[in-house]
Symmetry: C2
Subunit: 322 residues, 2 copies
């Protein structure tokens, strides 16, 4: 796991168990391409933010370990499935028309592998939880709507901050919020407290995604621009560039983005302009506002041990390297 | 709806209501691409075989209309979602590398539109049913595994009958079986009877898919070879061609399939060989065997009005024009 959980052994250990549950649930017989994709995914060993936050919020209430870890695994599996489906799309190679048959096969399988992980996630949820109440399926819908809305706004150089926020609200914040809501609700914190905790998670998710998008523009020199390039090729314009475009009255950035083909030179110029027009700085300021909203909410729950830990985690989420 | 239900008004009317439930559940606000895909899907107005069979098997027991129609809608929505995802893949154009940006955008949205429909289907199921017992999520998993396995066997000219049967068992028969199982189980027919009815549905699904695959090779002259062509370009070899290859000791068919590019001429030759080597006839014989298994099972349930209707429907499923 990564740094977020490094100093919180009680969560880190649980996340290892969540990983075991996921592996157990995704086992298949004789379906090589599913096995391969899943192996790859599990090796990548993500941050498990959603699962970790769900467990944290559950620990604020009456923690029932088995019940909560299964729920955390299913939330993380839903996230894994969307990652598999994202990979089908966020692929600059495809846009340029280069696609080997083998590559294509991989993609075909990816569609169904994602579906398979969804089905397994829902199955893990089936029977044991009040899905109507814990609202996990609600989150799934919102993720899809966010992704579709992002897709509808590809190559839209006039995309507004408002639209960007609607996209990340769906594709990231909703699931953060519902993970924390579900954790709290399943730990008998009741509707009101669960909702406050859920909203806290929602705002943390907004901040998290904004920082994630900033990192594409601020990563260490060797990685610099790597994700940016893929996003730019795919026409995905995130907050740093949206702010920069807004501040760039001479339309320097737009003129580049509207070119038919974007090359390495263009990417470098865009990175320069985003820096000049303070796109990242402004985006970080907004992320900090969301984080404040998030921690203000969690503080309303009182000040037990796990409220304090949660508050710190929510704060640290935006302190990743930028 | 199509002919299958034309003479059974009590099912046809219910299926119209199922359609209404689906439309109501798939409504979104301001997400044009989802709306477009869904509108298109609903216009196409499929046979609704799974929903119809679920309702039929439910009518054998204590029929609770609202409960059953929601369940039928969710099964049909899961099927719709897989159709959306199938479209991403079964596209000869893509294989030949021709893909307009607009087309590509449509595909990107299709991934998430499918996911969205899945999420909505599961949500419809959430809370109201004992998912552990009615096993719908089980069906979903099997569909994915079937599709992945089909994908792994693309362009495999040595694909065996056994492998083909494993593919269709997953991608079609499992969901037929579980639809009928769930209908029966939710109508209080108990585990034993529900299982018999479920297996009857499973075998009917095997027969249905074989006939579907035969129709690619036997359709009316104007349509002839249309689907066949797409399947052949995509390397999907179904039962008629598998049998023909088996009977074709001179490897005439394999020699064509192993060519790098298949053109119209090749398709015509393959159609000729499949006819000569009796691929379709042999496939139909197997479908008839499965249908017999299916109706033998349903007859074990007794002979009430709806058992009789179900039996006729199961028989008619393979009497589509061939």
């Amino acid at each position: 796991m990564t740094k977020i959980w490094d100093n919180i052994p009680e969560i880190k250990n649980e996340l290892n168990e969540v990983q075991e549950i996921i592996i157990k649930n995704l086992k298949t017989k004789n379906t090589k391409s599913i096995e391969k994709v899943i192996e790859h995914l599990l090796k990548a060993n993500g941050k498990r933010v959603r699962a970790g936050l769900l467990i944290l919020s559950a620990k604020i209430g009456e923690y029932d370990k088995d019940r909560i870890l299964n729920l955390a695994a299913s939330v993380e599996m839903i996230h894994l499935a969307t990652l598999v489906h994202d990979d089908i799309i966020d692929d600059a190679d495809t846009r340029r028309g280069i696609e080997s048959i083998q590559h294509k096969f991989g993609k075909d399988s990816a569609v169904y592998t994602g579906d398979f992980i969804f089905a397994k996630a829902y199955r893990l949820l089936a029977g044991d939880y009040d899905l109507e109440e814990n609202r996990i399926t609600d989150g799934m819908e919102k993720v899809c709507l966010g992704e579709v809305f992002q897709n509808e706004n590809k190559f839209n150089t006039d995309i507004t901050v408002r639209k960007y926020l609607r996209i990340i609200s769906g594709k990231t914040a909703a699931m953060f919020g519902l993970s924390m809501y579900a954790g709290a609700f399943e730990s008998k914190l009741g509707h009101y407290k669960s909702r406050v905790i859920g909203y806290s998670g929602y705002y943390a998710g907004m901040a998290f995604q904004i920082i994630d998008d900033c990192m594409d523009y601020t990563n260490s020199p060797d990685k610099m621009g790597k994700n940016t390039r893929v996003d730019l090729f795919n026409g995905i314009y995130t907050l740093p560039i949206i702010y920069a475009v807004k501040n760039d009255v001479d339309n320097n950035i737009k003129n580049i983005l509207n070119k038919k083909n974007i090359n390495e030179d263009h990417v470098q110029k865009i990175l320069h302009y985003v820096d000049e027009y303070k796109g990242v700085e402004q985006a970080i300021q907004l992320a900090e506002k969301y984080t404040k909203k998030s921690t203000d909410l969690i503080n309303r729950i009182g000040n037990g041990k796990y409220v304090d830990i949660t508050q710190k985690v929510l704060q640290n989420l935006i302190k990743r390297k930028y």
